[in-house]
């Protein structure tokens, strides 16, 4: 709270004291999901190059942080790798906002293991077994796997990836107590490359060029085919399986605005959905919105 107050004060001061020359510039403040940070930064850079009157500042902190900032009126856009929660929407209403949602891209959660781990594929149920601690040794999943204790890595609870994983994989289970929570997907990827018995998860785009680790194909259940979100031959995201939703752990990435977007913010959002914007999405190894984006449609409602 203190932090927030300080931030608010700082923002206020920054705005109040910014030089006169900047006054005719429109400022768009964005904060939120760390997974989306890189993408938003690229988008902002390109956009403000073309629109000299717009200045866009992008901050991470996690989806929760972004939404909290939005509800406190600190930002114009919150980037979130998860949907706003009922509670958050309620708070927004209390604060006099009516947040609008804009899906800008898609993402998938990749499950990664050490490159030496021979595991071929995992079901959602097996993932849940591993992360809830029901299974503590790799050989319990498959006798062909090494008899070694599972080392679990997760993102910190302040990020959309965590929420998404908890909702779609863990369901009513809680994480095993020995789960290590790391502050960034890069840290997860890094740790998995160093721990032979590790398993970790994070945004697909972090695992396009896996070095020292392997992305595991995931299936909904035992009878469904396992799907790999990465095209391991060509080192890019397996666009099709995410756009058509056949990869079980994929999700939309969205922006929230306090109200229906208008003015410069709206132009920015429109531009992102345009071919030009989506090309950047693709280039940054996120997943562009296809003609049909069932994952996003089904959840956006």
């Amino acid at each position: 709270m203190l932090l927030k107050t300080m931030l608010a004060t700082a923002t206020f001061l920054a705005v109040a004291l910014s030089p006169v020359a900047a006054q005719d510039k429109v400022k768009i403040n964005i904060s939120g999901s760390d997974t989306m940070n890189l993408l938003t930064q690229r988008l902002a850079e390109t956009y403000s190059k073309k629109h000299a009157n717009v200045e866009i500042s992008v901050r991470g902190g996690g989806s929760g942080t972004g939404i909290a900032d939005l509800l406190n009126g600190l930002v114009d856009i919150a980037q979130a790798s998860r949907k706003m929660k009922e509670k958050e929407i309620a708070t927004a209403k209390e604060n006099g906002y009516d947040p609008a949602e804009y899906v800008v891209a898609l993402d998938g959660i990749a499950i990664a293991v050490h490159e030496s781990n021979p595991v071929k594929s995992l079901t959602i149920g097996q993932l849940r077994a591993l992360y809830s601690g029901a299974v503590k040794n790799w050989s319990e999943i498959d006798p062909n796997l090494p008899s070694a204790p599972v080392v679990l890595f997760s993102r910190e609870s302040n990020c959309g990836t965590y929420d998404f994983f908890k909702e779609h994989v863990m369901k009513d289970a809680t994480f095993a107590p020995n789960t290590s929570y790391l502050a960034a997907t890069a840290a997860v990827a890094n740790s998995v490359t160093k721990e032979p018995n590790a398993i970790g998860f994070g945004g697909v785009s972090y695992f396009v060029r896996p070095e020292g680790l392997r992305v595991v194909p995931i299936s909904v259940d035992k009878d469904s085919p396992a799907v790999n979100p990465i095209d391991v031959v060509h080192h890019h995201v397996n666009l099709a399986v995410i756009q058509d939703g056949s990869y079980p752990i994929s999700r939309p990435l969205q922006y929230y605005t306090p109200e229906e977007a208008s003015g410069e913010v709206k132009s920015f959002l429109d531009w992102i959905i345009s071919d030009e914007g989506q090309a950047i999405v693709l280039r940054e190894e996120y997943i562009p919105l296809g003609n049909s984006a069932p994952t996003s449609e089904s959840k956006a409602q």
Binding site: M1, G61, G125, E156, A173, T174, T179, Y181, E195
Partner: protein
Amino acid sequence: MSASAPPLDAPGEKNPPASGSPSFSPKAVRDRVRHSTPFIQRLKEFAIEKLLALSGWLSILFILLIFVFLFKEGLLALRQVESLSTFFYSVEPVMAYDAATAETKIVGEAVAYKWEPVSTPPRLSILPLLWGSFGVALLSAVLSTLSGIAVGVFLSEMASEKTRNLVKPALELLVGIPTVVIGFFMLTVVAIPLKNILNPADGTSLIPAYQSLYNMFVGSLGVSVVIVPVIASLVDDALRAVPMDLRAASLSLGATRWQTTWRVVLPAGVSGVLSAVILGFGRAIGETMIVLMCAGSAPQISLNPFDSTRTMTATIAAEMGAAQQGSLHMHTLFLVGAILVTLAFFLNLTVELIANHYRKKIRL
């Protein structure tokens, strides 16, 4: 000093400097001293005194405000829960894996100590966090107390002036290194070789329990890097405050240097040494970045010091930014903060009491 300048009010006296009599007039000086303390001087004195008092009171006020704020926010958490047990344990489903269907199902319920603040309902057992903080602090204390005291004793009792002038600034520099740098160093340079040495993959393990790359031990090692110099420096100061006379007395009775240190200097400086150790412990409890980076951040209660762990400080640092304002999660983080401040308070109180106790006893 010229003899030609006669003193002001003793014209009659002969006054060659060589004779040893003063070349100034005692009376003039006396008048000056007694009658002319200028008003400005007094004002200055007054202002300085009040300014110092003010800054003293301000710092006390500031600390009080922190206390009040933390407790006010933290205690709100108590009101937000139905039962205080929320802060200690929760009843969780027991999951079992069915290899035939590759599914994981609930098979029962059990008490669990979980810190999983972002879930419905939030799991907010502070026990694993307390465990982590005390575990790291105790382990760091074990790792650093002896070496810290040893270095302090070396500096104060054995080292030549030259060595000391080299080592002491080096130690102070070490204390001054931002802990995030030490954390980063442990994370990238130390953690992996350490595990490879203590539990190599080829099965010739020294410590089979060493499974996690980032764990309480690595964290404590990093924290020790910070507190060894803290303890060493404080011990050095404490021992150097022991009067030289006592060392001379001991040596003059035929004691060796080591006997003198062990039998006289250390006992005489024991309050300082104890204070140093407790302050080191407090520093370890309060340490944030190192444990956040390389202790593994797993909120679990495990007796194995080579398991990952999560401390109160690391939790606050990792979660405060994203916790929703007014939420139970945020207030619980404040509660954890209040616990930390209370701990710090009592540790400092202990230091003060110990110091007082020995000060009376030893009257140094």
